[in-house]
């Protein structure tokens, strides 16, 4: 079962699509979920997800914008998508028949 933070980060990566590294992931979560996570928290979660095999990462190109530092870009793996599906299914089942604002499938 995925943690809530893990779900948010996985969805943020999928939303950003190409070149999903720290800053865009942070911005996406701030924009959509209204939560101002620190980079430390985001990378910690990313590290956990990568260890579980739910995301993969590659080293990106250095830019002058970043003081010549390389980015580390993340992509949600097939296992990651499956984990999200399982999590949402469980959530829907739990919510069925309850007036909590979650539509049954």
């Amino acid at each position: 079962m995925l943690g809530e933070l893990e779900q948010v980060v996985l969805l943020a990566i999928m939303r950003v699509g190409k070149d999903a590294y720290g800053v865009p992931i942070h911005d996406e979560i701030q924009r959509r979920a209204g939560r101002d996570l620190t980079l430390g928290t985001i990378y910690k979660t990313l590290g956990r997800l990568e260890k579980k095999g739910l995301v993969t990462s590659r080293i990106g190109e250095p830019t002058s914008q970043r003081g010549g530092r390389r980015t580390r870009c993340y992509v949600v793996s097939a296992a990651g998508k499956r984990a999200l599906q399982v999590a949402f299914k469980a959530l829907r089942h739990m919510a069925t028949g309850l007036d909590v604002g979650l539509e049954p499938a």
Binding site: Y21, G22, V23, H26, T38, L39, G40, T41, Y43, K44, G47, P62, Q65, R66, G67, R69, R70, T71, R72
Partner: protein, 861 residues
């Protein structure tokens, strides 16, 4: 700048594969504008420090240092045990004293805005404090603008007789505003009401939580019910909170409304009430003082014949109630800090001695590549380990010693129940421990600056001069501190000896004293009370081993105040309040004989005189006779006791002076009258029994004999007169015991310090001594060399200590009796004692030095 600092940290704290992307992201975000760099950095370090080398290295080094330190301590158990015990005792003693001082002197009293609570007294001509009369209280309250609320407090010692076990209680009779003035609400029931504070409506009581739990099992239905007090039904209206601490009278367990209005005892000159008040937030203490003084002078003008006082005293409750114990507690705090300093000096000195011996070890480690900071860390860790172990021992010491200490404190102090090893004391101890750790790590550091190569070449025989100087300084300061403590203890000890040598005016040996009561329905008339006293005296006198028995309304040195103005009817001053006061002793005829108070002139009253009330007689003490009739014989003079309209009495004799208020109090004056000739009967009476043998052994028999006459009356305060005398000096005893203990510890530590320095020095100078004796030095001259070295240290320490003791003992002045703080005998005695023990400490190293065989010493090169 900030960014560069954060990058610097992140590069070191994060994993290399994460450092680059995280820093890149941070830079990117920073370029875009607002960002709290430091917060992000701290968060990143916290979240992503999976193997941060900085901390990991530190932790690793710390634990390895700790292991090494523990191993080293185990290898020299003597050093370890001495250091840990020294530290433990010092930390424990410091915490214990601090745990007492903090709640008693420093913590504010447990009332809302306690700083505005004051006690108000009338001020005597000599600056002393006097209780006030009810009329004065009423006028002060009515006229004051600076006081928000005020209450009068009177003594009340009721007897609870609502079951088979009659019990005498300490209580207070208070104005209905009392708890409102303190800012306390009853936890159960209600507070007193204004309409209850009237004659005839005042039979309502409020109980302390402790009394309610103990005697009534915490029965909530007690509220509104009546309990029997002194044979009278009084209704319980409230129970105070468990945490309530009655600072003006900590022993009170029950409160009743005052109910004064215009009774004879509610007068202006009936000085038996205390006054507590709360100053308005808009006024200051100084405002209140000025205003109450003004009101007082108006009252004096209006009633010139009813005031002897010259003004008012307004003091914060906290200061007033701790006034007597303050000097002792402050002196003890100073003493215990000295002990702590000595202990630190001693442990540091022991560390130094080890550092010398370990010079070679450190040299080898440094040669093998250990950094200075690593070696420093090692020393620091050793200090920390010692301090923590010392702290643990210290906590044990506190937990063991604190209850004993508290049980010996005077019971009038506030918040005694609040004394425990509290968080504050623990925090102080912890701080001390850490401080010690740093000190112990740092001070031996100079020892390591000795040139390593020299140390290595010299095969460990090289020693540093700086190190020697440091140790010598430490020893000198230890001796100095020990001298200060010894002088203080010596002065306190001599004070106590002199105090106990004071002639109290009576013979306290072979006397048993106890309080008997006669309250309730059976004792409404004065005659029934007197007859009860007679029956008790007869029954007790019939016991084997009893030679005489007397009753008196009060006893010397027991802390009672019961004074009446004494007027010579032929010489009444314009203001009758200016007549002298004497301690009232309403007694049975055999009182003086039982107490062995001498009759100096005239005669004692006979049993027949004491049995009637018409022909009134009195004896006066020598001091009173001299004061009232300075140039005449007092025998045959007339006097009135308690006001101009009181009956006059014939003086038939002069009794010896008695120390009534305390052995150290200035002599007060007494008068003795037969109890039947007082205008009321005392329901509480002291019984004095003179015995042939041990008075304490007779206590059960006396108690049985008294109880057999009326089992419904409580018997209280059974004690020998010698114990009463000794209890009157308990505070001095406590101070003396602690000072003596501290001084002995200090002396031991100082002697150990001198021995350590000399022993170390002798073993380091073996070669030098060998050379000296090879060149013809006699054993005698070598002994003189070593003893001289120790003697110089001790002499310097003594000189500094004597100078220091002049500064310290000034604060002891109020605890001293009959001795000056710079008493030459005490100073000389301390110096002689120190000289003897110093010599003792020198002898072993000196003899060892004299036995050095020059051949062996030189060949060992």
């Amino acid at each position: 700048m900030m960014l560069r600092f954060c990058i610097w940290i992140l590069e070191r704290a994060l994993l290399p594969e994460l450092a680059s992307p995280v820093i890149g992201d941070l830079v990117e975000q920073q370029r875009r504008g607002a960002l709290w760099m430091l917060g992000e950095t701290i968060s990143a370090c916290w979240q992503l420090h999976r193997r941060p080398r900085v901390i990991d290295g530190f932790v690793h080094a710390f634990f390895s240092d700790l292991r090494i330190a523990a191993r080293l301590l185990l290898r020299s158990p003597g050093f370890a045990i001495v250091s840990v015990l020294t530290l433990g005792l010092a930390i424990g003693a410091t915490t214990a004293i601090f745990s007492v001082v903090e709640p008693v002197l420093l913590r504010s009293l447990p009332y809302p805005d306690a700083g505005r609570l004051v006690l108000v007294w009338e001020r005597d001509r000599d600056g002393g404090r006097d209780n006030i009369g009810f009329a004065t209280f009423r006028d002060l309250v009515a006229q004051s603008r600076t006081l928000e609320r005020a209450a009068a407090i009177g003594d009340w010692q009721p007897t609870l007789s609502d079951n088979d076990d009659p019990e005498r209680l300490q209580g207070d009779r208070v104005s209905w505003t009392y708890f409102r003035t303190l800012g306390i609400k009853p936890a159960l029931g209600r507070d007193f009401l204004a309409e209850e504070d009237e004659p005839g409506h005042s039979d309502v009581v409020i109980l302390s939580y402790g009394l309610w739990q103990r005697r009534y099992g915490g029965d909530r239905s007690l509220i509104g019910k009546s309990i029997l007090i002194g044979g009278k039904a009084m209704s319980v209206v409230g129970v105070l909170p468990k945490s309530f601490d009655n600072a003006p009278n900590p022993t009170a367990k029950i409160w009743r409304v005052l109910g004064y209005r215009d009774q004879s005892f509610a007068c202006r000159t009936c000085h038996h009430l205390r006054m507590i008040a709360r100053i308005r937030p808009s006024a200051t203490l100084a405002d209140a003082r000025t205003e109450l003084d003004q009101i007082h002078s108006r009252l004096v003008q209006a009633y010139p014949k009813e005031y002897a006082s010259v003004g008012m005293v307004v003091g914060r409750v906290q200061d007033e109630v701790t006034q007597r114990a303050r000097p002792a507690l402050l002196a003890l705090s100073a003493a215990v800090l000295l002990v702590l300093l000595i202990a630190v000096a001693n442990v540091v000195s022991l560390q130094l001695a080890r550092a010398i011996r370990r010079g070679r070890e450190f040299a080898v480690r440094e040669a093998l590549g250990a950094t200075r900071s690593r070696l420093f860390g090692q020393l620091l860790t050793e200090g920390l380990l010692l301090s923590v172990l010392g702290g643990v021992v210290g906590l044990c010491v506190v937990y063991l010693s604190l209850p004993i200490l508290v049980s010996r404190l005077p019971s009038g102090l506030p918040q005694l129940s609040a004394i425990h090893v509290d968080v504050g004391a623990l925090a102080v101890v912890t701080t001390l421990i850490l401080l010690l750790a740093v000190v112990m790590g740092l001070v031996p550091a100079p020892a390591r600056r000795v040139e390593r190569s020299a140390s290595l070449r010299a095969g460990g025989r090289f020693t540093g001069n700086t190190n020697h100087a440091t140790r010598a300084t430490l020893v000198v300061s230890e001796v100095a501190l020990a001298v200060m403590l010894l002088v203080s203890a010596g002065l306190l000890g001599q004070s106590l000896v002199r105090l106990l040598g004071v002639n109290a005016g009576f013979d306290a040996t072979h006397l048993l004293t106890l309080e008997i009561n006669s309250t309730g329905a059976g004792y409404r008339s004065d005659t029934s009370v007197y007859e009860y006293h007679d029956r008790v005296r007869e029954a007790v006198r019939a016991l084997p081993g009893v030679t005489s028995v007397a009753v008196a309304n009060q006893l010397p040195l027991a802390g009672n105040v019961d004074m009446y103005g004494i007027t010579d009817p032929s010489n009444v001053p314009a203001n009758p309040e200016l007549v002298p006061s004497g301690d009232r002793y309403a007694v049975s005829a055999d009182y003086l004989e039982t107490m062995r108070i001498p009759v100096l002139a005239g005669r004692n009253f006979t049993a027949a005189e004491a049995a009637q009330a018409n022909d009134k007689v009195a004896l006066v003490s020598a001091a009173l006779a001299r004061r009232v009739w300075p140039n005449e014989s007092p025998i045959g003079q007339r006097l009135r006791i308690g006001g101009a309209d009181a009956p006059s009495r014939t003086v038939i004799g002069v009794a010896g002076n008695v120390r009534h208020g305390g052995l150290d109090a200035t002599t007060t004056m007494q008068f003795y009258i037969p109890e039947r000739q007082m205008f009321f009967a005392d329901n509480q009476e002291m019984l004095v029994v003179r015995t042939t043998g041990d008075p304490a052994a007779l206590a059960p028999a006396v108690r049985r004999a008294v109880a057999a006459i009326d089992p419904t009356q409580p018997i209280d305060k059974i004690s020998t007169m010698e114990d009463v005398v000794s209890a009157s000096t308990s505070q001095r005893r406590l101070a003396l015991i602690l000072f003596a203990a501290f001084a002995m510890a200090a002396l031991l530590l100082a002697v150990a310090g001198i021995y350590g320095v000399l022993a170390g020095s002798v073993s380091e100078r073996t070669r030098e001594i060998g050379v000296r004796s090879a060149l013809g030095a006699t054993p005698r001259s070598i002994v003189a060399l070593v003893v001289g070295q120790g003697g110089r240290l001790a002499a310097l320490g003594m000189a500094l200590g004597l100078a220091g003791s002049f500064a310290l003992t000034r604060y002891l002045r109020s605890l001293l009796f009959g001795i000056a703080p710079d008493d030459p005998v005490t100073l000389a005695g301390v110096c002689a004692l120190l000289a003897c023990v110093t010599l003792g400490a020198c002898i072993v190293p000196a003899v060892r030095a004299a036995r050095v065989d020059p051949g062996t010493a030189l060949r060992s090169e």
